[in-house]
Structure formats: C-alpha cells, structure tokens
Subunit: 368 residues, 2 copies
C-alpha cells in the first residue's frame, strides 16, 4: 500500500522530486507537513489546509496519549476520522517530546519515566507502548521510538543514546502495525560524523519505505546541521523518502532539499503566525509593526493564499494587535501556503535541473 | 435604498416575518446578527458566516474608533472591504460601551469623556463624533448615540438619561450619512413604563426605516424585559424593523419575536462557544464535561452546521479542554447556526400562524 518513486533527480545538486503513494493519498515530495500536535493544526480547518494544497500533516503521539488518550481516538475510528482529515497523517513517536517537554524524566533500558507537562501525572513510555499508541491512532506513518539528544551532549552520551535508539528500534519493529501503516526508523548520532554513520548502519535494516533523520535542529548552528546532512547524503537509500524531522524554515528546507531531503515538518509557520509574523520571499515580516497600520497591500503581493487574496496587512495587523483569533488564522494559512509554494517551486527547479540556480536566486532576496 | 416590508403577521401573537432590503442585500426578519466587535466575528471567516446563512453582522464603533481607528478603516475603503464582508453591517454608536467598558467616564450635555478600556487614553465621544465615525466605517445601519442606564438606576436618573438621549438624537440626525447608510434611533426609559412611552414619543419622529429598543438586558430580570416589550409592542410603528439590542439567548429571541421584535444581536453565542458551551434545543450543553469524552455523536444530532456534520462532541471537548482554537471556532459556528435556524423556524411558524404553538413546543424541551 506504500510506494515511493523518484520522478527526477536534479543534475545540479541531487535534489529529488518523488511520488510517495500511501493508503490515504499520494504525496509529492519534497513536501512540508504542517503540525497538528493535538489533532488540530492550530486554528485551521482541514478544508483550509486542503485549499492551500497540504498533502500530509503530522500529529503528536505524546500529546494525544496524554489528552484525550489514544483509546478514545481509537474508539472514534482513528485519528483521520476523529479530526476529519482524510489525507495522510504521520505521527511522531513521543520520543522527542518526552525529552523536550517533560520534567523528572528517568530513562532506563526498558523506556522512559516522565511527568506530564500539563498535570504532572507520572507515565512510562516504552518503544512498544509508543508503537501501540500510534497503532491505535491509526496514522499512516508511525515513527520509531528514539532517544533524542540535544546539540550540547558529549560523544559518550550521544553514543549511548544511539545504541539505545538502535535497540529500541528493534523492539519497535516487533510490534505489528495496521495494514495501512508503516514505520520510519530514525537516524541519530548527534553532531558526530562517525556516530551518524554508525547510527545509519544500524537503522538501514529497518527502513522499508522511509527513513528519518532526527536529532538535528536541536540547538546546533545551522551549518552544523547542513554538515551532518552532507555526511548522510551519499549514504541514504535512494528508493525511499528521507524525512528531516522538526525543520521548517524556508532556508533550512531549501538547504535540506539540496541535500536530498524529501520531507519536512515544523510548528514554526503556525507558531510565528499566531505571534504576528508572516513568512515571505524576502524574509519574515513582523505584521505588528506600526509600518503596516495603513498598508492595504496583501501580506505578499503575488501570493495566491486565502489571506493574501482577501485581506490587507492593515487588517491582519489590526487583528493581531487586538488578539483577534482570525488574525493568527490568516497568517497561519499564509505561512503554510508559503512553505508549500516553496516546495512547489523547488519541484519545478528540480524537474528543470536548475536547483543551484534557484538557490542563488532565492537567497539574493531572502533575509534569514 | 432601504425598504422594509412586512410579509406576514402571525394571527396567534402578532409576530412578524419581514423583508428588509439594504444596499448590501436583503435581510429576512426575524434575524439574529452575530457580533464582530473588532471587525471580525471572533475566530470565524466571512465564508463560514455565509455558509451558516448569516445575513447581517454587527460591529462596534467604540472598539474600532480606538483600534485601528476609523480613519484607517475609511482609507481601507470602509468596513465591508476592510473585513471582506459584503452583506449588511450594523454598527452600534459606542454609547453602550462607553458606559459598560470605560472607566473614569464623565458625562455632560456635549458628550462623554472616557478612558480607553485597554490603554487608559482619554477620549471625548459626542453624538456628532459617533455619527462621523460610523460614516467613516461605512456600515449600512448606524445607531444613534444614546445614554444607556443600567437596570438599577432610579427614576430621576432614567428620566435625565432619556431626555439627554432625545437631545442627542436630534444632534445625530443633523449629521449627514452616506447614501447607503441609515440611522436607527433608540428608545430608552429603563424599566419605567411611562418613561419608555415618553422615550418612544421622542424617538418616533427620527425613525425613518428602523427603530431600536435599548437599555434592556442590562441587569433586570427577564420578565421585566418582557414587560417593557409588552408596553412598547402596540405603540411601535409597523412599517419598519424593530431591533432589540444586545439580546441573543434562544428564550429571549423567542419572547422578543412573540412581541413583534425583528432584529437581535448578542456576543453570547460566540462568547460561550469559546468557553466550551453549545446551544441546543434542550438548552446549553457544557461540552467540557467528562460525560462527553467518548461521546461520538455530533453536538446536536439533527443540526446541519459544519461542526455537527463533521465532528463529534468527543473531538470538540478534546479541543476545548486543550485550549485548541479550532474547538471554539467549531462551537461558534454551531451556536450561530443554532440561532439562525431558530429564526428560520420562527419564520415558518409565523407564516403558518402558529407561533403560540411553536412557543409551547419549544419550551417543553428547552431548559433555560
């Protein structure tokens, strides 16, 4: 039920256009996946996401396990039905959130004890439980339960984590998923070249129709992230999608695609939208600024999103500055559309073997 | 450009179905007007309002004068264009908000000094300024600037306020509005029968194509409100719409319609929606309650709104309990649709001369 096909690889950079077939629809890659942490891409409806050509979203195992509980979602008929989203869904494993959001966590070989970030209740998450939760949620792509380390840890810690991640991956692989579900394993190894390679070697046997790169965008400088991607690029399998986890700024997506990455996700576009920041081809635009109070142009002049077709910067600024929910909603739509258009532009450049030219062009105007 | 026609008056109660033609479209009455205080019906898009058959919305002069400023909205091409809403708009005068929201207000014959509710800045609002702001906003229906008293004031205070309201009304009437705009004058008089009649007498000469009843739903028991409406009912002109300001619970709308009221507005449906309360034919449903955690039925089984057609109580409860914006959005849609369906049901009952029967039927199931 899952199939991935490379349509074209750019002669200039090796960037790929692919077609990823899933039981809930076809995903053209490179793709940006908006994040619907709690079974809702914040403020937006499924119809709005579809209108801006969203082909897959991500939801969070950690959050949904805590609230409302995966048993309830299972009884609702699964996540697709629960949230009225018929296109593909990817769920993360909860690994990253256990480490980034929870307090009093205690890790052992069996799994991780942690306290819930919102009510302090004590939980124990294991590779097996993570897979069972994701099975109950019924996502199309389940992520393996891994140990994600932050950019500052020493080599020994990174090595311990990658070894444990490998053992946990084997345990994850033993849990039978639904027929319309596959698992992506995750390459760890922190910022150490040899550890990244070692982790990849341990991961490859479990990669059936997709592989993820985790533990990047965890505090390291961007060039360090790109260096790790450069190391992995020639070693990653060609016949499956490659997913760079938690990355979603325009510059990082472009840098990733140039290094053969196919899938991206990030809360960034929707989070900064709610704070009043619009993504544009010239860089971020802080719509709260007084400069926009009587600027009746759309957020981006040539943008085809619902927000830009119907509303002015002045209106959106007014909504954001008066805490009107609709303002964050409009900017969320714009920012998601911006990243989807960016991936569309990248696809076009790849098909024309012009990604290096695209890269040069893009960064002429774009202010990081 | 404005025309009101009574289509039918119910033989049982005198409730009316009317057709109110405005430059921005026809409004069938009785009508419920959702409130878009700051040029946005909180959380909702114009398309969502139209999908649920909203035919007119209300916006607030007081709020828009303070933010973003009526000059900006005027330069944007008016409120309709600014907020992407092409159907009729009614703006209140700011009178009620000056009294209910502002601190340090000081009233004199000329107008009212007040401090902005959000930044404390000092302002002076007069009948002339209120009309000029509403002219700049470009609403279709502008409200006269009145002095609204709360239910507890004594007769002398109520009398002073109604006299001032009458003098202010005359001043309002001298401000020329746009061609596609008319003014509704407002009957005050608090809870005093003779004062209500006196205010009506002073108001009638200024009522061209609409008249409003203000100063109700300001803290009095509901039967007191109905008593005031009973007093006014035989005295109100038949050839124009009658607008009961600030009223929007199902029971009050029905009681109002039975007393010949045609137009209603209230923040209630959207405000309680964001707090997790759904309006239903059996009364309010507190969707936060644990009882709904695995209730996979829609909010209301026979409801045709977007929320009920696509989402379960369990999903909406989950969103509300996790502070997900989409939850309040779904319930806002439902509650607005609920009141619009209620006015549709009332129209049907009126056309069939069966409003007294409808009334009995409705309150058999409805828990206030």
């Amino acid at each position: 039920m899952f199939k991935y096909e490379v349509i074209h690889t750019c002669a200039q950079t090796g960037a790929r256009v692919g077609k990823f077939t899933t039981p809930n629809g076809v995903i053209e890659t490179p793709v940006f996946m908006p994040v619907g942490t709690l079974a809702s891409v914040k403020a937006l409806s499924p119809e709005e996401l579809v209108a801006e050509e969203t082909s897959i979203i991500l939801a969070n195992t950690y959050h949904l396990y805590l609230r409302p509980g995966h048993d309830i979602i299972e009884r609702a008929g699964g996540l697709h039905k629960f949230m009225n989203w018929n296109r593909p869904i990817l769920t993360d494993s909860g690994g990253f959130q256990v480490f980034s959001l929870s307090t009093l966590r205690k890790i052992n070989e069996e799994g991780v004890f942690f306290n819930s970030f919102f009510d302090g209740s004590r939980h124990f998450l294991t590779p097996e439980l993570s897979m069972k939760i994701q099975k109950a949620l019924g996502s199309n792509i389940a992520m393996a339960f891994d140990e994600c380390t932050d950019a500052k840890v020493d080599r020994t810690t990174a090595k311990t984590a990658l070894d444990r991640t490998a053992r946990w991956l084997d345990r994850c692989s033993k849990i039978e998923l639904n027929d319309d579900q596959i698992m992506f394993p995750i390459v760890q190894g922190n910022m150490y070249e040899d550890l990244r390679k070692e982790s990849l070697d341990k991961t490859l046997p479990y990669a059936k129709c997709g592989i993820a790169i985790g533990g990047l965008s965890v505090g390291e400088p961007k060039p360090k992230m790109y260096e790790m991607l450069d190391i992995l690029k020639p070693l990653l399998p060609n016949d499956m999608p490659r997913y760079l986890m938690g990355v979603g700024s325009a510059d990082c997506i472009i840098e990733g695609v140039m290094r053969g990455i196919d899938m991206f996700d990030c809360v960034l576009p929707t989070r900064i939208a709610r704070n009043g920041t619009a993504m544009t081809r010239r860089g971020d635009l802080t719509i709260r600024n007084a400069a926009y109070k009587d600027d009746f142009r759309p957020v981006e002049e040539d943008c085809d999103c619902y927000a830009c077709k119907n509303y002015s910067r002045a209106y959106i600024r007014h909504l954001i500055n008066t805490d009107e929910i609709f303002g964050g909603r409009l900017l969320s739509i714009h920012n998601i559309r911006f990243l989807i258009k960016l991936t569309n532009d990248l696809k076009k450049a790849i098909l024309e073997d012009k990604t290096a030219d695209f890269y040069k062009d893009f960064f002429k105007d774009y202010k990081i």
